[in-house]
Symmetry: C2
Subunit: 116 residues, 2 copies
Amino acid sequence: MSLYTIAQASEEVDLTPYTLRYYEKEGLLPNVTKDSAGRRKYHDDDLQRIGFIKCLKGTGMSLKQIKEYGDLYEKGKAKFKERNAMLEEHREKILQEIKIQKKYLKMVEAKIEMKI
Amino acid sequence: MSLYTIAQASEEVDLTPYTLRYYEKEGLLPNVTKDSAGRRKYHDDDLQRIGFIKCLKGTGMSLKQIKEYGDLYEKGKAKFKERNAMLEEHREKILQEIKIQKKYLKMVEAKIEMKI
DNA sequence: TCTTGACTTAGAGTTAACTTTAACTGTTAG
DNA sequence: CTAACAGTTAAAGTTAACTCTAAGTCAAGA
């Protein structure tokens, strides 16, 4: 299959239809097409894009910044440098965050072991 | 030093005075005392507690749940089992989250390398 | 043909976690 | 003594990210 209704796409990416429409309204999904009756049709490309949005969001990037990244993406090669710079900066942020999570994990484990 | 004004505590734990008062209002800091003029005095215990609140919050626990944990903590030994069960469950959540973060990190790195 | 159900929109409502405001009080430096 | 300052409270305001409602459209099955 290569085309999805909003319900199917929703199922596929594990986001509600509300959220998918919201993301589109916010400009994060500029390429979702509609059929003759005005209903959204999601392509595999859209699902992949949503997958990457979830990745960025899941690592703490705001929708506003994700839109900025997406806007650069739409401009293609011309904005490649800027776009990759964003990703590289974000990569550092994720690495930092993993470090912090590991530190916090140790704190929780210490508290568990403390038995007080 | 062993006693801190709200400004000093704020500095120490890197949270605004607003946030410290907010946490207290929400019942997360039940042991903050006041001086004769009604001003908050933070003890080392309070700062430690705030530190652990930051740990729980930083690993995705809601203030509501953190309060539940704190309430169990206040009940001492009687609620030790429940309390530790919460922490052990949370530990699993953190481990899961670190896994997801690592997966997302790889996705971002792949995108960087993709150069498209 | 009628109804059911999945969709559409614009806009309102919700939630968590702060953050600020307004009005006030007590302490301290000049 | 007084002005500035650091704190106090209750309550209102803010923000991000949804989430839902209301009113309507369209296509497909009995």
